[in-house]
């Protein structure tokens, strides 16, 4: 049984790799961009789902942790020349000027810095509940943004950083798909193992009933802290990927709107399911690109509508409200993908025929 599962997982990973090879050949740059952004959003959505969906913490700090990861990785990978070009208002702090690490190391440090931030902020705020936790984490995220806007010699302030190196170790944009989707696979595998471990079960128990969980001997604070730190680590990684992929970051990118985007994915998919976050991240990323038409000029017959920028987000917000009002479980609730679906399939159709 267990062996079977391992083999199944290995086969699916191999299939994904083959798929990536093919996609890397056939996708147009525009399609590849959507595909890669979808991958980054998968990592972000899964990490948020760990905190909000599995442990049930109402945290709104994702953008803050992403900012920490993105800035850390950016500053650690940019060359001396690139930094000098960026920091023209005020020179960068000297100890950072000549630091230039390979991308894989920088991105891990980015994740670790986000995790460290989570550990510091988590200690006081994770004792809060529900709305208070939401407000505190949202506040944290905004504070990070304000700090990054004002530390001119460290983050270049409101000007942001331009010319981040491409994702990868060679200076080629073609490498991105491998790193991003490699990290997607690592994130998924790690989360699935975590969720199915004793810790994962304890997370879900805390979500279901804190008092009962405590009565079982589960240390609430320790587990909340653990999920918060792990989730933030992956948020940092996701933020770093996003920064490198877009080549430019500035504090405005990490507004609460970014957190909102990820919540949208998590809620539309289903809170507490990894599979749904994966599917939802891809669907939402594609839809957001396709719905870009709404923001531009539109022609329906002879009627010309001058698009209002932001219409897209209105549509998505409305969609989110509809889901919350009428279909709270999201796309698939807390259910997960499983191979047994395929085994059940013929059985189901047989039953349908009989009745």
């Amino acid at each position: 049984m267990k062996r079977e599962k391992v083999i199944q997982s290995l086969i699916s990973i191999a299939a994904v790799i083959i798929l990536l090879v093919i996609l890397n050949k056939v996708l147009t740059p525009f399609q590849a961009r959507i595909f890669n952004l979808g991958g980054i959003y998968i990592i972000l959505a899964i990490s948020m789902n760990l905190i909000n969906g599995f442990v049930g913490l109402f945290s709104l700090g994702h953008a803050g942790f992403m900012a920490v990861g993105a800035y850390t990785s950016a500053l650690l990978t940019m060359s001396r020349e690139a930094k000098e070009m960026n920091f023209f208002l005020e020179p960068i702090v000297p100890w950072l000027l000549d630091v230039q690490l390979p991308f894989p190391i920088a991105i891990i440090i980015g994740g670790l810095m986000a995790a460290l931030a989570a550990a510091l902020i988590g200690a006081p705020v994770l004792r809060l509940n529900d709305d208070y936790l939401a407000i505190a984490t949202l506040g944290f995220s905004e504070i990070i943004r304000v700090i990054f806007t004002n530390t001119q010699s460290l983050t270049n302030g409101a000007l942001g950083l331009k010319g981040l190196p491409y994702i990868g170790v060679t200076d080629s944009p073609k490498e991105a798909i491998w790193w991003i989707w490699g990290l997607v696979i690592i994130t998924i595998v790690f989360m699935v193992l975590l969720i199915n471990s004793t810790y994962g079960r304890a997370f879900k128990a805390i979500r279901e009933d804190e008092i009962a969980a405590e009565a079982m001997g589960i240390n609430l604070f320790k587990h909340k802290m653990m999920a918060f730190i792990i989730g933030s680590f992956f948020a940092g990684i996701g933020g770093a990927l996003l920064g490198h992929y877009m080549n430019t970051i500035d504090p405005l990118l990490f507004r609460y709107l970014l957190t909102f985007n990820i919540i949208l994915i998590v809620v539309l998919g289903g809170i507490g399911s990894i599979t749904s976050s994966v599917i939802s991240a891809i669907v939402v990323t594609i839809a957001q690109e396709l719905l870009r038409v709404l923001d531009g000029k539109m022609q329906i017959g002879s009627l010309i509508i001058n698009g209002v920028p932001g219409t897209r987000m209105v549509v998505f917000s409305a969609l989110l409200m509809l889901v919350i009002l009428f279909y709270q479980r999201g796309l698939m609730g807390t259910n997960e993908f499983s191979w047994s679906w395929f085994k059940k399939l013929p059985f189901k159709t047989k039953k349908a025929k009989i009745s």
């Binding site: 128990a205 279901e208 009962a212 009565a215 001997g217 807390t334």
Partner: protein, 236 residues
């Protein structure tokens, strides 16, 4: 096994327990009965470290455990079946049971106890993959008891296990309590259903607004006039 001395619990200004003394000897069933709001749940919560005691001492096998973290209580062998069952609704029956064994490491023994629980509650065995929230009230109570047993307790504390159950199911539950007791378990049982509780109990306490007003062997309390009037609804 468990000795409570002069235990007090305050919630803000409310004095919920006003210095109670209670003793649970090894291998006995002790029951604590009392009206709504008497402080029964508060007693169990303070034993488990879920509510803060403001005074007094709680000794478990001679060791002072008052106001220690709940995790420590569970690992020492105290376990609580909370009031209102509190099963993990969106988790399966089996996941709920494994959560009871959360602090245990020995896989073989856990499996052994899992089988024992399934023997005690065959209805749970039929429903291993069912979500706990979809179980009937009686089945949920069985699950809550089974989950507690999975932690391999030395002292099992139950807060109103018969709450909201049909008389027939109540009989089942009390049958199970006796069965568990025969296996050598020490039990502290809280009940509103005084008759059923005093029938199984070796010793009973009556709690009234935070103080113990009566105590004695179960059989004696059963025939006590005051108990009959107040809790058994019989008039003479």
């Amino acid at each position: 096994m468990l000795t409570i001395n002069n235990l007090s619990v305050h919630y803000g200004g409310i004095h919920a327990l006003k210095g109670i003394n209670l003793e649970v000897p090894q291998n006995k069933i002790v029951t604590l009965i009392g009206a709504n709001g008497a402080g029964k749940s508060s007693t169990l919560k303070s034993i488990m470290g879920l509510a803060k005691a403001s005074g007094g001492s709680i000794k478990f096998n001679g060791e002072d455990i008052v106001n220690k973290p709940t995790t420590n209580m569970v690992s020492k062998g105290l376990v609580l079946v909370p009031e209102g069952r509190r099963v993990f609704s969106n988790l399966t029956v089996e996941e709920n049971l494994f959560l009871g064994a959360y602090l245990r490491k020995n896989k073989e023994e856990i499996t052994k106890d899992l089988n024992w629980v399934y023997e005690l509650f065959p209805r749970l065995k039929e429903r291993v993959w069912q979500k706990a929230g979809t179980l009937s009230g009686g089945e949920q109570q069985m699950l809550a008891v089974g989950r507690a047993l999975m932690s391999k307790p030395k002292l099992l504390m139950m807060d109103e296990p018969s709450l909201g159950l049909a008389p027939l199911i109540v009989k089942d539950i009390f049958g199970i309590i006796k069965e568990i007791h025969r296996n050598g378990m020490t039990i502290l049982l809280i009940e509103q259903n005084a008759k059923a509780a005093l029938e199984v109990a070796d010793y009973g306490y009556v709690l009234e607004t935070g103080s113990i007003t009566l105590e004695g062997p179960g059989k004696e309390l059963m025939v006590n006039d005051e108990v009959q009037k107040a809790y058994l609804g019989e008039h003479k």
